[in-house]
């Protein structure tokens, strides 16, 4: 078995042209990950630039309304650039800089990872090119503008379904054509080894903080941690330090779109099969001949036909559960949290919240659910308005 395996999943299914680049990246990461200087620099960026630690907020009105378990929200939406994506990007950009790279490329779906990468590139004085499905550039026009404002070039991808998977493919193609000065700043716990490990380690700050913050507030571990899963970076970040705590249930929420029994879904665990794509072995939505399925979700950030290999393994072993959440449930949760707590969540995060709304009333009042609120929802207001039949214009 090759490197970077999580059970049978993971690996390095990459063109030969990129093999030395991923080997070089792995070597650099191994050299820096326990380097006190590197970690001090990253911690300073997390605190002073990204605004960490993010708050763990007790959602009292939600808890009271649901009448069951206490609901806490891990406020990744309060980070600089408005989502958890900045954690990974600051780590990778710092690593790329140490490796002497001067140019970052990235894929983006909703635009959160693209904005975060453009932000880090501005901060580190690096060149930046972001690949974004043309369909998504329309859905998330504001984020396209932000990336350009930050100095990045945004390349609309017109191939395939013109969404996140095509943006990943195009970023990989670009990396094969220019590898010596360029780091591919992958945005999720996916792709070839070492990306799933690197991204997880940089996102693991989320569960490290949850553990400490909840210990301070409640003196104990949570009963349930819930996060949304596309590729799965915020979820693995929220799960990681609880994987060895068997009393903590870990639940990933996939985008069911219009439902797992319709073709308009992006729920990989619910509807996918084992496959090899984008550098990794994992579960993918695909047809009988292995053609990758065009997937759908109202949330551009979850609109991906695969799932990171570590999640696939956590599913295989039963350590984590994965549940599908529909557009309708996510939009309801988006509106619910806005009204109940005055917090507008990202549509992605609203998938996690939607499941918490179902689960909390079935639990007792001493129990605790932590929902990873991975991003803020400003970017989604137009999409939700459209979903409700209202067209917004500036």
């Amino acid at each position: 078995m090759s490197k970077g395996r999580f059970g049978i999943h993971g690996g390095q299914y990459m063109p030969e042209t990129l093999m030395n680049a991923v080997i070089e990246l792995e070597a650099a990461y191994e050299a820096y990950k326990n380097d006190p200087g590197f970690n001090a620099e990253l911690d300073a960026l997390f605190q002073d630039y990204a605004g960490r630690p993010s708050r763990l907020y007790y959602a009292g009105r939600v808890t009271e309304d649901l009448g069951g378990a206490k609901v806490y929200l891990k406020r990744e939406d309060l980070n600089h650039t408005g989502a958890h994506k900045i954690n990974n990007v600051l780590g990778q950009a710092l690593l790329a800089k140490k490796m002497g790279k001067t140019r970052l490329i990235a894929e983006t779906g909703a635009g959160q990872h693209g904005v975060a990468t453009a932000t880090a590139a501005a901060l580190f004085g690096m060149e930046c090119v972001v690949f974004m499905g043309e369909e998504d550039t329309r859905r998330q026009a504001l984020n396209v503008y932000k990336m350009r404002l930050l100095g990045a070039e945004v390349v609309p991808v017109r191939t395939g379904t013109a969404t996140l998977k095509d943006a990943v493919s195009e970023a990989m193609r670009e990396w094969t054509s220019r590898v010596s000065d360029t780091h591919y700043c992958l945005g999720s716990v996916m792709g070839p080894h070492p990306f799933p490990t690197i991204v997880r380690d940089f996102q693991a700050v989320i569960s490290r903080e949850i553990k400490a913050q909840l210990m301070e507030k409640e003196g104990r571990l949570p009963d349930v941690v819930i996060a949304c899963v596309g590729g799965g970076s915020n979820a693995i970040g929220a799960f990681y330090h609880f994987i060895d705590c068997p009393t903590v249930r870990l639940i990933g929420c996939e985008a069911a779109g219009r439902g797992v029994h319709t073709p308009d879904t992006a729920a990989t665990i619910a509807t996918g099969r084992l496959g090899i794509f984008h550098g990794m072995k994992s579960y993918f939505c695909q047809d009988d001949y292995g053609q990758i399925a065009p997937v759908y979700s109202i949330s551009a950030g979850l609109d991906y036909p695969g799932i990171g290999p570590e999640h696939a393994h956590l599913y295989d072993t039963g350590r984590a559960e994965y549940v599908p959440v529909t557009d309708e449930e996510a939009v309801n949760a988006f509106e619910y949290l806005s009204r109940k707590e005055g917090i507008i969540p990202a549509l992605e995060s609203a998938h996690a919240l939607a499941h918490a709304l179902k689960l909390a009333p079935t639990m007792n009042k001493e129990q605790i659910i932590v929902v990873n609120l991975s991003g803020r929802g400003d970017k989604d207001c137009a999409a939700v308005a459209r979903y409700r039949g209202e067209e917004l214009s500036e």
């Binding site: 390095q12 990459m14 030969e16």
Partner: protein, 253 residues
């Protein structure tokens, strides 16, 4: 020694690539027949994939045309099975890992060998991952790239059939100039495995480029220039493809 070896016994080999089912499998079969008659020494048959990450725009578009035309792995196997009644030139499949894996790797390899295929090229399966795709029935072709450096020796030592030398960084597609030191790559392969033929691909489209590459290597692979003609002329492309293959083979003589 597989039949692929024969492809390199008539001087420098010309190796055309075509995407199966672009625009339909009947046209593919005619084109393969024509290429074989026009002097192709080995033919690469692409099984279309929804997300061909190693391909440039020309072959990406052919994949889309083939899939929307209804090409599937099984229909391609059937086409090859019929073709083998008349076409004897060595042939290899070129596709992506998931097409093979999802069919069942063992089942895919057995069926491909049974219908007379000689090898398999998987651009998203590097040396490190090849174990699960290697078999005695079908040569798994190894690729080396301009970035491979010290990896070349290990790859070449375990290579089967031929070594596919990727001429340039980036994806498949027609290029004005190829600047890589192909001679250097080929001599590293030869030092590690003196018997294995080397064929150069990616970016080659003109007879002049082919002749220049053939000075260093044992064969030349051309994809996008042929697929471009398929895209341009569709069902009427066969005569143009035949003429092009004859011209390219002549440049290698």
């Amino acid at each position: 020694m597989s039949r692929i070896y024969e492809a390199f016994t008539h001087g420098k080999a010309f190796i055309p690539f075509i995407t199966c089912g672009d625009p339909d499998l009947h046209t593919t079969a005619e084109a393969v027949q024509a290429m074989s008659e026009a002097g192709a020494d080995l033919i690469e048959l692409g099984i279309p994939f929804s997300d061909p990450t190693a391909e440039g725009p020309v072959i990406q578009a052919a994949n889309v045309r083939a899939l929307s035309g209804g090409a599937t792995t099984d229909k391609i196997f059937d086409m090859v099975c019929e073709l083998r009644e008349t076409v004897t030139v060595p042939m290899v499949f070129m596709t992506y890992a998931n097409v093979v894996f999802s069919y069942g790797t063992e089942r895919f390899v057995s069926r491909a060998a049974e219908i007379g295929m000689d090898g398999l090229i998987l651009p998203d399966v590097p040396f490190e991952e090849k174990a699960e795709f290697v078999s005695d029935k079908l040569d798994l072709i190894s690729l080396i790239a301009p970035t491979s450096g010290e990896r070349i020796a290990a790859i070449a030592r375990e290579a089967r059939g031929f070594v596919y030398c990727v001429s340039s960084l980036g994806v498949t597609g027609i290029r004005g100039a190829i600047t890589t030191d192909i001679g250097g790559m080929v001599s590293l392969v030869r030092a590690a495995n003196p018997g294995i033929p080397c064929a150069v691909g990616f970016g080659i489209s003109t007879p002049e480029q082919a002749a220049a590459m053939a000075r260093h290597a044992d064969g030349v692979i051309v994809g996008s220039a042929i697929v471009k003609r398929m895209g341009q002329y569709g069902r009427g492309a066969v005569p143009y493809v035949r003429e092009y293959v004859a011209e390219m083979k002549a440049a290698l003589r």
